[in-house]
């Protein structure tokens, strides 16, 4: 065990770790900007520089390997001055837009200038006035606020395997851009929002639908309804300063009613509906010989990924719409009629942990001469902003139930919020479809947890299925490469675009505690475990919808409302 001395204290280092890791474990904070937990260091920003006795130059802690006997000064005058100069340089051409910025109050650059005591614009510089890229339905890029840390590029290339963006140009002309500087909407971007999650500043934000929703809520001619995705209730409280993992399900419905939504529905109900359709589709593909493996289709970033990079695999995607779009469709087609409302006057808002859902709601084949299934999508973050705009708080509200007919869910539907959840829910119901009975143990341990790749063999009566669950599109790409190389043992593959699934979605709280993902996951498992109805096919509200309106899974009405199709995309990849 190497030992080092940091600021006069002795710290035990672990072999092979970086100085930054040792310092952090020892409780010494060195600020970082480009550092990306879990990826190799790039040393791009130099903000983490520290002074090491015997070395003439400051060294970046994030990439400096610890060795026995290092004597380190993290906050010597020299180190602090160097950091302050770096931040002052970043600020020199930065717009002073904090008051109008989506990241005001949650911005690394603000934190750093505070921490380093920057109180004046000392270095002259001119704002670049680069145009904002507002072409994407999901993501807005404001290059003037970019500090070139490169984290978005790494999220897009190394985590997601998409590589829609990269560093371009050099020197004062350097910027993050797409190939040929084209709009994100015509690039290979899949709208996952993982770049937004790692951006330290307001250079990357979601396309806000807040004004749209507020306008609808104020319009007396509209009936505004909301649906809330499974991951939102276990994440929202963090944005109001609470510890991760608290489920605020009931308070959330109460809150949405206070905000003026006429009806509040649970997207987990539609997750159950999705499972009825998707498990039936799986069983049909197993009987009719494919195409297998079937891929889930509820993560719109993944769907676009297949259309863009693996168009020859489109037939493997389940034809099921996602729960958001299914619920949107039955809200306008069924709920409106039941409630005596004109579908044109129903404004349907989805509250999602996701930026790609904004894109999905506007996909062409979801519109095709019809009414949109979903009119606006708010991320978890935007919902918190809306709540604050209205002067409301989460804490004070007594729980209320969601509205019928789409207010009842099974534990399985709630599991959709995490990687492996769709698989677990589908296995429970597919088993029932094949055998007529129920699984002895509903918990499918092998597909649980935060690992990016999980695989299992599952018995459904006399069938044995190979299943894989991946989250993070980089992992999905690797699995597709295996399948291309001839892998044949898989029947069903769940893919969530975001690492960990929707709980780690691009619309979730930014800068959350690294342990938050696990806490949200456990919260979902607890909810499922405590539910009396834990399978989609046992959900009485789902049964009723089939009996009253839809008929049978995969039947003509389902086909019309709940299924969709996909198209190859010709973009620069």
């Amino acid at each position: 065990m190497p030992r080092i001395e940091a600021n006069g204290r002795t710290l035990e280092a672990r072999r092979g770790e970086t100085l930054l890791e040792t310092l952090r474990r020892g409780g010494i904070r060195v600020p970082t900007l480009c550092h990306y937990e879990g990826l190799p260091p790039t040393g791009a920003c130099r903000l983490c520089v520290v002074e090491v006795d015997g070395l003439p130059n400051l060294v970046p802690a994030c990439s400096y390997p610890v060795v026995e006997g290092l004597k380190v000064h993290t906050h010597s005058a020299r180190a602090v001055n160097a950091r302050r100069t770096i931040v002052e340089l970043l600020l020199s051409n930065h717009p002073d837009d904090c008051l109008y910025c989506a990241r005001h109050g949650n911005c690394r650059l603000q934190d750093l200038s505070e921490e380093l005591g920057v109180r004046a614009r000392r270095l002259p510089g001119t704002r670049r006035h680069l145009p904002r890229d507002v072409s994407s339905p999901a993501i807005v890029r404001d290059p003037d606020k970019c500090v070139l840390c490169g984290r978005c590029v790494r999220a897009c290339q190394e985590v997601q395997g998409v590589a829609a963006i990269d560093m371009t140009g050099r020197g004062s002309g350097a910027r993050v851009d797409t190939a040929f500087g084209e709009g994100l909407n015509v690039s290979s971007c899949v709208n996952c929002g993982q770049c937004v999650m790692v951006c330290p500043t307001g250079a990357l934000t979601e396309r806000s639908h807040l004004d749209l929703v507020e306008g609808a809520l104020r319009d007396p001619a509209l009936t505004v309804v909301a649906q809330v995705a499974p991951a939102v209730s276990v994440s929202l409280a963090e944005l109001f300063g609470e510890k991760p993992g608290r489920d605020v399900d009931g308070a959330l419905y109460a809150l949405l009613r206070r905000l003026g939504f006429s009806r509040v529905f649970d997207t987990a109900f539609a997750a159950d509906l999705t499972i009825m359709e998707e498990a039936s589709e799986l069983v049909r593909r197993l009987r009719d010989g494919g195409p297998l493996p079937m891929f889930t289709s509820c993560s719109p970033g993944w769907v676009k990924f297949v259309e863009t990079f693996y168009p020859e695999r489109i037939a493997h995607l389940s034809t099921c719409k996602s729960p958001q779009q299914m619920l949107g469709a039955v809200i306008k087609a069924h709920f409106a009629a039941r409630a005596g409302l004109e579908p044109e006057r129903v404004f349907s808002v989805a509250i999602m942990p996701c930026t790609a859902k904004k894109f999905e709601a506007q996909r062409e084949e979801m519109l095709e001469g019809k009414l949109a299934d979903v009119d606006a999508v708010l991320t978890t973050r935007e919902l918190a902003d809306l709540v604050r705009r209205r002067g409301l708080r989460l804490g004070d509200l007594a729980p209320e139930p969601a509205d019928m007919p789409f207010g009842r869910r099974s534990g399985a539907g709630k599991l959709f919020g995490a990687s492996g959840g769709v698989m677990e829910a589908a296995i429970r119901t597919a088993h029932h479809l094949v055998t007529g009975g129920e699984l002895a143990d509903l918990k499918v341990e092998a597909v649980r947890g935060l690992e990016g790749v999980k695989e299992a063999r599952v018995r459904l009566g006399d069938l044995e299925l190979g299943v894989a669950v991946v989250s993070g599109l980089g992992n999905a790409r690797r699995l597709l490469q295996e399948i291309d190389a001839g892998r044949r043992d898989l029947h069903f593959v769940e893919v969530m675009s975001c690492p960990g699934g929707c709980i780690g979605g691009g619309g979730q709280p930014i800068g959350a505690d690294p342990a938050a993902l696990g806490a949200r996951l456990q919260a979902l498992y607890r909810i499922d475990g405590a539910e009396t109805v834990r399978t989609a096919h046992a959900n009485p509200a789902v049964r009723q919808l089939y009996a009253e309106f839809l008929g049978e899974p995969l039947g003509p009405r389902s086909h019309e409302l709940l299924h969709t199709h996909y198209d190859a995309r010709t973009v620069l990849r």
């Binding site: 590589a163 190939a179 040929f180 290979s188 620069l572």
Partner: protein, 159 residues
């Protein structure tokens, strides 16, 4: 140059090796053959080398030598070498940019002009120097440079 333009496929066929260190030389060959690096060329290079287009564009923009638009009918090169700089090429460049409404590396929408800044045209004795379609014009100032371009425009319009 005579004969048909060498296609990217032909260039790639001559370079079966797919190592990423070939990116820059390949970009140079493509530009030499086609005058610029097109979207299609980047897509083909990307497929050949296993690199995303954004990466190729990122690398290519790091070097000043690559253009991403076809050359204009009149390709204007402005020398920014030391000698030219000392003799006021900055003012010449600004005037040309203003007249053409173009930035370096761009081609006008009507395809008439394209503008490029070069590190040195190698004729320092003539500084400050511009070059239009390979023809050197030495000792220019802002006004005379713009006059040359006006003449090109008139010539194109009367043709």
């Amino acid at each position: 140059m005579n004969g048909p333009v060498r296609s990217v496929a032909e260039i790639l066929a001559a370079h079966p090796d797919r190592g990423r260190e070939h990116l820059i030389p390949l970009l140079q060959e493509v530009q030499e053959a086609q005058g610029f690096v097109s979207r299609e060329a980047v897509a083909e290079l990307g497929a050949h080398l296993g690199l995303p287009s954004s990466r190729i564009y990122g690398v290519a923009t790091f070097y000043n030598q690559f253009r991403f638009q076809p050359l204009g009918r009149y390709h204007v090169q402005v020398c920014r070498g030391t000698a030219c700089h000392v003799k006021g090429s900055q003012g010449v460049f600004q005037a040309i940019k203003r007249y053409l409404q173009l930035e370096a590396g761009q081609t006008a929408r009507d395809g008439l002009f394209s503008l490029e800044v070069v590190a040195c045209l190698g004729a320092c004795g003539l500084a400050p120097l511009i070059c239009v379609n390979g023809e050197f014009h030495g000792g220019v100032d802002a006004d005379s440079a713009v006059k040359i371009l006006r003449r090109c425009r008139r010539e194109a319009e009367s043709a």
